[in-house]
Amino acid sequence: MSGYGSPAAGVVVPAAPMPAQATVWAGSHQAPLLDAARLALARDLQLAFRKRGQLVQPLAFFAMVTMLFPLAISPELARLREIAPGVLWAGALLASLLALEFLFRDDAYDGTLEQYALSGQSLTWLIFAKTLAHWLLTGLPLALMAPLAALSLGVSEAAVPGIVASVAVGSVALSLIGSIGAALTLGIKRSGALLSLLTLPLSLPVLIFGARATQLAITGGPLLAPLELLAALAVLGVTLAPLAAAAAVRISLE
């Protein structure tokens, strides 16, 4: 039985019992789930504004990609207008992918995820709050920048609302899909390549419908159908992605 530790492992000398006192443990002041989720969201937002470099990086990337096309292809507005949906969406997809790596990495590193998992709150909700913060910090700014990029590609102002709507809704789906990939690759060093490999195929429907919606917005066609499909993807993501990401985070903590 050499495998069974030292004898002491099994036998513990009982200590004198302490007099029980009337103690109110915190269990009775458990923070409501929404408060906890709001704190998790506020923490991520505050941290993001403390390290603005990380915040600006994907946005700068998006601006650069969309600005290189007119220089590389031709300054002819008619041609640029034709490729604008593809340029905008490929740029947005890659920019959101770039930001994904930061979604859980720091929290895994400094033990925050561990504390979330042990907080007695629903990890799914806390992960959802984190993903929401991530969208507010990358998806929403991308949606607001997209019209500027579109205008520089010769798109008329009439298309702006449609473009903002499609990028805003589509990026919700991208953030949520990405959260699963980011959680799954948590235990891996230099996970960037694997993360793209996992996330890109799942993101393709968003790219396809997003680009279609943007194209219809530019040509003035009815863009409700692709927008609704994007919204459906986002809703599917909201309901399922946090569950999957939370499960993946739990596994990574083991």
């Binding site: 530790g5 007099p19 915190a26 033990g111 042990l118």
Partner: protein, 207 residues
Amino acid sequence: MHDERLDVESLHLWRGDRHVLRGVCFSLASGECLQVTGPNGSGKTSLLRTVCGLMYPEAGRVLWEGRDVRSDLRTFHCALVYLGHEPPLKADLSARENLRYWIGVRHRFGAAALEDALERVGASPWCERLVRTLSAGQRRRVALAGLALSMVPLWLLDEPTTNLDTEGQQLVGSLIGEQLSRGGMVLAAVHHELPASLRELRRLELA
């Protein structure tokens, strides 16, 4: 709520082909402290992580108030706080902000309780500074303030005295003493003996 009790029944844990925990058994009742000792790599941290449910043991059970914790992890987690060997702090937030978020996610507390906890660990003079500017010992003290602030019956501490000066180590001792005297329990993995001032001290030696 005075029958809090932790029972650990013959835990076996494998990491790859290493048999880390080999049938560890112990139980903790209200007001008891158990210090887990053993050489590096003997599984002290694994034991704590298994007890709190982060790791899944291959065999054995952890019982909280007589019920298997796997059947209701949420309730068990509400009753415990786990402090790993790195304080779970954000480098870009101040000590005070860190505590507000970290413990606030768990339960509600008043502003006065927060100030008391900071005062208790001697963090009041520098609680507005970003954690990245604090020394390792100061960070450890912030983590201890979190411990003092979270009023839960079970503390799981991994090397709580690391990086602390003599006075800080005594602080750990007195925090544990208070926890025990209000009927709490402490399970601590330690290298250095906990201060001898604690009378209710038992030891579990891992091989």
